[in-house]
Amino acid sequence: MSKSLLSGNEAIVEGAVKAGLKFYSSYPITPASEIMTFILKKDVTFIQAEDEIAAINMCIGASLAGKKSMTATSGPGFSLKQEGIGLAFKLGTPLVIVDSQRVGPSTGMPTLGSQGDILQAKHGIHGDYISIVFYPNSVEELYRYTLEAFNISEEALSPVILLSDGYLSRMYETVDLSLINKKIKIKNRTLSPLGSSKRHFTGLTSENNIPKTKDSIVYKNWYLQRKKHILNAAKRYNFFEYIENKNSDTLLIAYGITSRAILPLKNNFSIFRPIRLFPILDELKEISKNYKRIIVIEMNDGQYKHELEAFLKRDIKGIGLLGGKISLEEIKNEL
């Protein structure tokens, strides 16, 4: 037992370093800025980039050069990073992107937490894309799932989004990291670094290093193979929490900070908490069959509800908590 008091942002840093983080680049933004100051205390190459776009491109370069890399931001910066996320996906670059959400759109309410970037995390880039998105709900989980985010990014050879929010990132909790360390094995880098070969990494559709920009078959083969590879990797990372209440015909679905707030409702309802938000968990298909009503509670205007309706092909009620406020009373009134 070795307990320590950590903030969410510190836990992300501890998890990343444990996972083998060697390069970090980001641009100051509330509520993710503190990650930079914690990184400085670690054996990690760090550069405060000139902007959000530079930060993610530096991380892609560093990752391809052989170093496990991470960047962190919030909504406005996350929007700017989308083209880079697309490049990382196209080039098969392991990379972790932390988005500590705040109320948007635009500058919005910088110091208030939110869950408004759910759809951006899934669909933010242009073109077809399979996103991997984790969203923990405690300081301890931020540590654990930062580790898991690095692991899956190495397996999937793809960027991974770790969602947090302004509340979770700045929350302090007592944690025992040694217990988690016993459970998780670190995945080592398999991709050989730049300078060791004669590969051409290009954002263009290509085959064996050669651009094939008018060949639909090449594109289709590339994309379907990429999709299969990522979905296969995701199967080993199907994280969720299910609190079953046998007396309830209603399933509440919540994630991240909201799932903490609604925990007292477990006395009257079943609660499902996805930790891997995307790809959406197949387990939900079976579990949802047991319930007449499904209600998604989230700090946005129905973003995950929308995704789940399409996934489960049924009507779902949404409770949207807007403007950075979480109130259990308000939720109860809407149930």
């Binding site: 491109n57 530096m58 892609i60 391809l64 050069a65 300078g195 051409h200």
Partner: protein, 240 residues
């Protein structure tokens, strides 16, 4: 032969237009690379010159429009043993990617940036670029460019430590000498290679590839002086 050594044979041939300076520039870069002992990694952005990365038989990245420099900086920081070279165009480096260029030069990052300065957005048909001369007729300035071209020399020289080289595909020995010095420079080095676009710019204003070549050959002078270059001068200005 350095071209055979550094050209990615599967690409079969360089895809640039007939008359484009990039053909000889590519060969000259191969010659210069031949004298480099470190492992070289080439990074490009988007555009005609952006295709350069794909032609080198080296580990190379063809990244996003304007973002070659931060990719290169990440690589260099992750592995300082590598020789990291950015090869891209003026639209990519001095337009959409200018922020990165300014800051990388300010930080004096130990990378070399080779800018093919063709005066237009060539791949998309010849639109005005930040380097197009004032009054020049392009696809998007049919009545002449209203604005003065960017003064990249001035921007780079505003840093106490700097390396700014200007050369042209017309003066091949000078080009190689300039690139060699840039690649051996400790810190940020920038080389502008003047090579106006032929098909999507020069031809449209009535100049052939031969006209452009002769014009540059006649008008441009090589200087050894370490002072800010005049508009028609080629040389290296540096302060380590």
């Amino acid at each position: 032969m350095s071209y055979e050594k550094f050209f990615r044979q599967e690409m079969k041939e360089l895809g640039w237009c007939p008359g484009c300076g990039l053909h000889s520039i590519f060969r000259d870069i191969c010659d210069v690379f031949n004298g480099i002992n470190e492992e070289i990694v080439v990074i490009s952005g988007i555009g005609c010159t952006g295709r350069a990365a794909g032609y080198f038989n080296l580990d190379s990245i063809h990244g996003l429009h304007g973002r070659a420099i931060p990719l290169a900086v990440g690589i260099k920081m992750a592995n300082p043993e590598l020789k990291v070279v950015v090869i891209s165009g003026d639209g990519d480096l001095l337009g959409i990617g200018m922020n990165h260029l300014i800051h990388s030069a300010r930080r004096n990052d130990n990378i070399t940036v080779i800018c093919n300065y063709n005066e237009v957005f060539a791949m998309t048909g010849g639109q005005v670029s930040p380097t197009t001369k004032e009054d020049a007729i392009t696809l998007t300035t049919p009545k002449g460019n209203l604005y003065q071209p960017i003064n990249i020399q001035g921007i780079l020289l505003s840093n106490k430590k700097h390396f700014y080289g200007r050369t042209s595909y017309v003066f091949r020995e000078h080009l190689k000498k300039t690139l060699k010095e840039a690649l051996n420079h400790k810190g940020f080095s920038f080389v502008e290679i003047y090579s106006p676009c032929i098909i999507n710019y020069s031809n449209k204003i009535g100049k052939s590839a031969a006209d452009v070549f002769k014009e540059i050959n006649k008008e441009y002078k090589i200087t050894e002086n370490n002072h800010p270059l005049k508009d028609n001068e080629l040389g290296i200005i540096k302060n380590e």
